[in-house]
Amino acid sequence: MKRLLSLVVLMMSVMSLSAQQLPDVKIENAQGKIVSIRSVAKGKPMIISYWSITCKPCIQELNAINDALEEWREEADFEVVAISTDDARMKASAKTIASSRGWDFICLFDDKQTLKRAMNVSLTPQSFVVDANGKIVFSHSGYTPGSEQLLFDKILELKKKK
């Protein structure tokens, strides 16, 4: 226990605020082609949302974002990127769900969970807001109905900073 506490204290002692750059990892898109996460939004800000078939709140969050997306896009130009972490077991089902739900998103499939590890996602749902330069400016774990608004508020803050 003492060693764990020492580690935590060590980590805290070196912390200072800064924005994290999106890692340079390539994963599969809905068409099966390998793309870089850094290039999918083509220079626009983006909301990245991790999900999986067995994560009910993740799908709730994506549905909620999709419901509000039309109104949000009237106020800001940005992309939503849904990243499935389903492995070989559920990847086919994830593709089926993603293409039938009418999600107006970019859907990516991280079945080897390379991007998930690189972004230190240990729990889903986990969402990120990334600015046009690829810097992560906000992230949020878990989902409760209504918390999707936090993500859009951050997108609006980015728009104001422009």
Binding site: M1, R3, L4, L5, L7, V8, M11, M12, M15, S16, L17, S18, A19, Q20, Q21, D24, Q31, G32, T54, C55, K56, Q60, D67, A68, L69, D87, A88, R89, M90, A92, S93, K95, T96, I97, S99, S100, R101, G102, D111, K112, Q113, T114, R117, A118, M119, N120, V121, S122, L123, Q126, F138, S139, H140, S141, G142, T144, P145, G146, S147, Q149
Partner: protein, 525 residues
């Protein structure tokens, strides 16, 4: 309890300081996770563990600077949770992974612990699953080179992690992927052909007490290969993989046998309709990292059950356990979404799924015939009525063979689920689940319910109960709350948990019943 309090204080501190660290041009990021249980006396489900406290903790730290990245992960079992006794005995603190990596536009080099997968993982997958207590990463070197978008080659060599130590074996692997659609400028379509080779080398003379020759195994080298093709055109997708495996002594086999696997997948989607069918045949494909060890962490490849995974308690009571000795079957998924043109908050989402698996070999059953191992027909209908109200109805017909196909005997369960979410306003919502499992066999009928009240974006409180009506008449209750602040989430609950299997990749961990407090905290920075 003092230890739980200490842990909460320490972890809350890191949560409140969630940030990234900048070192010159580089940056440090990481994550922290704890799963801690304080076990309470409960005569209904059995004895209380000797050490009432169990805590599995993981901390990962990465440093990146341009194209360079490096990282470490330390695990601390203080002591290890009940049911994970193969991972460690009592307390254990160790470095579970470390790596340095250079990634250029066309090549990548990694030295350290490798997490990777070839194809669908049928011959090689190294990964970490904390819930399962599984980490079979390869400690060694990996290099990859891309010839434009046309050809990618990859090779790796190393020794596999076996629980908290390393196996006495060496694994080498090579992989090539050729994009014919890029070579022939087929812009509207995808057409890849791929191949992989894996070799596991382990001396057969490490233990004088074991005579592998008697079991028919004389070659210290196990060779496996995979050939794959992927095709996509507009809404159509086709994937296929064939795998061959040399003579090996799988955990379940008494004599060394060769193995093989076939995987095929066809999918089609048009607007909001989507359908996907998957076929798979496994023939003696269980492959161990080490011939001298056993357990769920001793696995080189990934053979998941291709069945629907549920989020509802009663639908998950008896999950299918893949039969790696021999099985044949598949599943079909179809989804359709009917959406209002005028109102994005009004739609129907419909989903139908069917999966079934049979034994492959005549020797697997007493009758010598192919026996049904599993069948699940299920559908769910989700209706978003307006901004406030959403309802879900799910039905599942599950049939499973408790003798893994040896006897012609199956148990049948009919599961009904109703799920209602009502949003009072932008922040407050209530979700209620009601579930019923109807069965004339095994443990008979079950009933379950859940109530969850959420105050977005930080708080959620819940209470659930699962009750066996016919046989054990036992209540499995749970209540708790979760609090989220940016990238930190804490969940504290108290309840009685049923014993059962947690399955992934063809391996299942038996989780014993317990009653107690459970603290789960995750944070990243």
């Amino acid at each position: 309890m003092k230890r739980i309090a200490l842990l909460i204080v320490a972890l809350a501190a890191i949560g409140s300081a969630s940030a990234q660290v900048q070192f010159g041009e580089g940056q440090v990021s990481g994550s922290l996770e704890t799963n801690t249980i304080y076990y309470m006396d409960d005569s209904t489900i059995g004895d209380t563990p000797e050490d009432r406290f169990g805590s599995n903790n993981y901390m990962k730290v990465d440093y990146s600077n341009g194209r360079f990245t490096a990282g470490v992960q330390v695990n601390a079992f203080l002591p290890v949770l009940q049911g994970y006794n193969d991972l460690a005995t009592g307390r254990k603190f160790y470095l579970s992974s470390k790596y340095i990596q250079w990634q250029d536009d066309n090549y990548e080099l990694l030295v350290g612990d490798i997490f990777d997968q070839l194809g669908n993982g049928l011959i090689f997958r190294s990964f970490e699953d904390r819930q399962l207590g599984l980490n079979n990463s390869l400690e060694g070197i990996r290099g990859a080179y891309n010839f434009g978008n046309y050809v990618q080659v990859k090779g790796m060599y190393g020794r596999p992690r076996l629980y908290t130590e390393y196996a006495d074996s060496w694994v080498r692997a090579a992989d090539v992927s050729v994009s014919l659609s890029d070579i022939f400028s087929m812009e509207e379509s995808l057409f890849n052909i791929e191949g992989s080779y894996v070799n596991r080398n382990q001396s057969l003379a490490l233990d004088n007490m074991i005579d592998f020759g008697m079991a028919g195994l004389t070659n210290p080298n196990l060779n496996m290969y995979s050939a794959r093709a992927n095709f996509g055109w507009r809404g159509l997708s086709l994937r296929g993989e064939y795998v061959g495996k040399g003579k090996d002594l799988a955990a379940a086999a008494q004599t060394a046998v060769a193995g093989s696997a076939i995987l095929g997948e066809v999918g089609y989607n048009y607007n909001t309709f989507s359908i996907m069918g998957t076929f798979r045949q496994l023939d003696n494909m269980a492959t161990r990292l080490s011939l001298y060890d056993s357990g769920i962490g001793n696995t080189l490849n990934y053979l998941p059950a291709l069945t629907r995974q549920y989020t509802y308690m009663l639908a998950n009571l008896n999950p299918y356990q893949v039969n790696t000795e021999g099985e044949i079957g598949g599943q079909v998924d179809a989804c359709y979404s009917l959406r209002s043109e005028e109102d994005r908050y009004r739609y129907w989402n419909m989903h139908v799924n069917y999966s079934t698996f049979y034994t492959l070999h005549s020797y697997q059953s007493a009758s010598g015939k192919s026996e049904r191992l599993w069948q699940d027909f299920n559908f769910d209908v989700e209706r978003q009525w307006n901004k406030q109200l959403k309802t879900i109805f799910l039905y599942s017909f599950q049939e499973w063979n408790p003798y893994h196909g040896y006897k012609h005997r199956t148990y049948v369960s009919n599961i009904f689920v109703g799920d209602v979410t009502y949003k009072f306003n932008r922040k407050n919502s209530l979700r209620v689940e009601a579930q019923y499992l109807w069965s004339d066999e095994y443990e008979g009928d079950w009933v379950a319910g859940l109530v969850e009240y959420s105050m977005a974006p930080k708080w959620s409180i819940f209470f659930s109960d699962m009750y066996n009506i016919d046989l054990t008449k036992t209540n499995y209750y749970s209540g708790g709350f979760s609090y989220t602040h940016n990238r930190t989430r804490v969940q504290l609950s108290y309840g009685r948990n049923r014993a059962g299997y947690v399955c992934s990749g063809g391996v299942c961990r038996y989780s014993p019943a317990y009653t107690g407090f459970n603290l789960v905290l995750t944070s990243s920075f």
